[in-house]
């Protein structure tokens, strides 16, 4: 029996795999077994009702996708009243993602969702799809420290700060979030990008720019997750291009205590469960008793690997 459980950001998770915000919802309940997940993470909600961005809202690119969904939201009240209670029928803890455009509204919303049935709050201080050329609280350490501190005072629930990969110094932002009182870091949101239809000469997205996600971003986000895991002492949750157990293992090896799977679920509806099954299988095949033993196990003893070295050779001769 492999032990996949991890403690992460104030929660005890049965396994380190959870959905990424905006790619998961109750609609999937009849598609895969919700009981299997390490946690639930809901689509970001905002204080009040919103329509979201113009269509086209998504566009595919090599090995990934752009999205400018924006944050269509029924508002906090409807969410607290209609959605949160429905998750109580399953065991995994519920993480609610929130966002707002002002510290006050943000704090107010944090208070509003600090209700029974919610295990932790993921603060989306990084959504690059809103106006302001993609800027966000998490672009700078100072603004990050401030908003996290503000939200820390607004709720007793564990706070997960979701960072933006568009920041120049993610490690500094990670430290700032920790100083502000975050219990965990989610690294990271989508990378601001765009594409153009050369026939029509129009942007492929109605919103011109959008967030890049999927396998294409993995090497970049993995680097940031590694930098954050070294810079901060609170747990880092890796999120970016994870589609397989192998991808998840890369994030765990560089120091993440959990991972989120997003875009992959659009290609393979059961990706989350597949990643969990294959993680367990990898552990079994490699004699790993506890997934904890994989976390942060990156081997930096860089022996210059020799294409002709006799070790490499024995493998090939």
């Amino acid at each position: 029996m492999i032990d996949l459980s991890v403690s992460c950001g104030g929660l005890a998770l049965a396994n380190p795999v959870m959905p990424a915000s905006g790619t998961f919802g109750l609609e999937q309940a009849d598609i895969f077994d919700f009981e299997r997940l390490g946690a639930f993470v809901t689509k970001t909600i905002t204080p009040d009702k919103r329509l979201g961005n113009p269509t086209p809202r998504v566009s595919e690119v090599p090995n990934g996708m752009l999205n400018s969904i924006g944050i269509p939201s029924k508002g906090a009240d409807a969410f607290v009243r209609d959605v949160i209670p429905r998750f109580s029928q399953w065991r995994p803890p519920l993480v609610v993602s929130i966002s707002a455009n002002t510290p006050d509204a943000f704090a107010e919303l944090a208070r509003a969702v600090s209700v029974a049935g919610v295990a932790a709050i993921e603060i989306n201080i990084s959504c690059p799809n809103l106006e302001d050329d993609g800027k966000a609280f998490a672009m700078r350490p100072e603004s990050t420290r401030e908003i996290v501190r503000r939200l820390r005072d607004a709720t007793h629930l564990p706070l997960w700060a979701k960072l933006t990969p568009n920041a120049g110094d993610v490690a500094a932002v990670a430290r700032a979030a920790e100083e502000g009182g975050a219990d965990a870091l989610v690294v990271a949101n989508t990378i601001l990008a765009m594409s153009v239809n050369v026939e029509t000469r129009r942007p492929s997205l109605g919103n011109v720019m959008g967030g890049l996600s999927g396998p294409a971003v993995k090497p970049i986000i993995l680097r940031m997750a590694y930098q954050c895991a070294r810079a901060a002492t609170i747990p880092v949750i890796g999120c970016g291009g994870i589609a397989t157990a192998k991808d998840a293992l890369e994030f765990l090896i560089v120091g993440c205590r959990a991972v989120q799977v997003g875009t992959a679920s659009f290609v393979h509806p059961c990706a989350l469960v597949d990643v969990i099954d294959d993680l367990e299988e990898h552990c079994r095949a490699n004699g790993i008793a506890r997934i904890e033993d994989v976390i942060g196990s990156l081997d930096l003893t860089q022996t210059e690997r020799d294409m002709m070295g006799d070790t490499a050779l024995e493998a090939r001769a």
């Binding site: 998961f24 609609e27 998504v58 969904i69």
Partner: protein, 280 residues
């Protein structure tokens, strides 16, 4: 070649089937005309079956520079539960359908579905009229045998650029529909003429419900006629999709809901919607 769209003996299940990701196997893949191809798949044991108006999300195979990342939504054109098969009628328009067009009999094909909400029939075996153009015909196809099997008289008005591009005429006749065709080439597809046809059908008591797909021009016409005579009506809409199940909110389209404009997701709140509410 005639491709029946639904086996006569099929009645629709009460609750919509639970969607599954399955590895289907290509049984038949043929060109129907210069633009459209018909793909028939063998489903694995126990795979769920679709209802008219529902769709599958297809994982088109990459390779040779064609690398579709998203799945592609396709309406079911032919539903064969007892043979455990499903058929699609599609047009090659870009990367995904071009990749799809390379499939050979025997190839595996990963499909996810059935998804979405299909067509509903009016009360009391009331006669219905189908109005479709382009790929819209593929979506409406199975509605004919479904309605006939449930005792409704069916009239289909099929629109296309040219006579040789009107599809499913024989299929729909074989399924028991009265079929009228209108084309740009013959100058019969213009809105005023089609409106005349509809009014005649209403007058003849052959149009208690209207179903439209494939053109916003025809959708607006159908909305006008339905409103004028207070007819039941549905429209099947299209929008780009990512998840296909309602979580990503990329597939929204605008609707009129008691006065205000709201967004609805084509993948899970549709693709079939009440005719009156769509902002076409």
């Amino acid at each position: 070649m005639i491709i029946p769209m639904l086996d006569p003996d099929v009645a629709s299940p009460a609750a919509p089937p639970r969607p599954l990701e399955v590895e289907a196997v290509v049984r038949e893949h043929v060109a129907v005309n210069d633009e459209y191809r018909y793909l028939s798949l063998d489903l694995p044991e126990g795979a769920p079956h679709a209802r008219p108006g529902q769709f599958y999300h297809l994982l088109c195979p990459g390779g040779d520079g064609l690398e579709p990342f998203f799945r592609r939504p396709m309406s079911v054109y032919r539903i064969e539960p007892e043979r455990n098969r499903v058929g699609f009628l599609y047009k090659v328009t870009g990367t995904g359908t071009a990749a799809m067009a390379r499939l050979w009999p025997g190839d595996g094909f990963n499909i996810f579905g059935p998804l979405g909400i299909g067509f509903t029939l009016p009360e009391a075996k009331a006669p219905i009229v189908l109005l479709g153009r382009g790929v819209g015909l593929a979506t409406m196809g199975p509605l004919v045998p479904f309605a006939r099997a449930n005792g409704h008289r069916v009239t289909a008005i099929l629109s296309a650029r040219a006579p040789d591009l009107v599809m499913s005429v024989e299929e729909m006749r074989a399924a028991g529909a009265d079929v009228l065709t209108v084309t740009d080439a013959e100058g019969t597809s213009a809105v005023p003429h089609v409106e005349g046809l509809l009014e005649d059908l209403v007058a003849q008591g052959r149009c208690a419900a209207l179903y439209v797909c494939g053109s916003s021009r025809l959708t607006r016409l159908a909305q006008a006629v339905a409103a004028r005579h207070d007819l039941f009506g549905e429209v099947a809409l299209e929008q780009q999709m990512a998840c296909g199940v309602g979580v990503c909110f990329c597939c929204v389209r605008p609707f009129r809901e008691n006065g205000e404009t709201v967004h609805r997701r084509v993948c899970c709140e549709g693709p079939v919607f009440p005719l009156a509410e769509a902002l076409a």
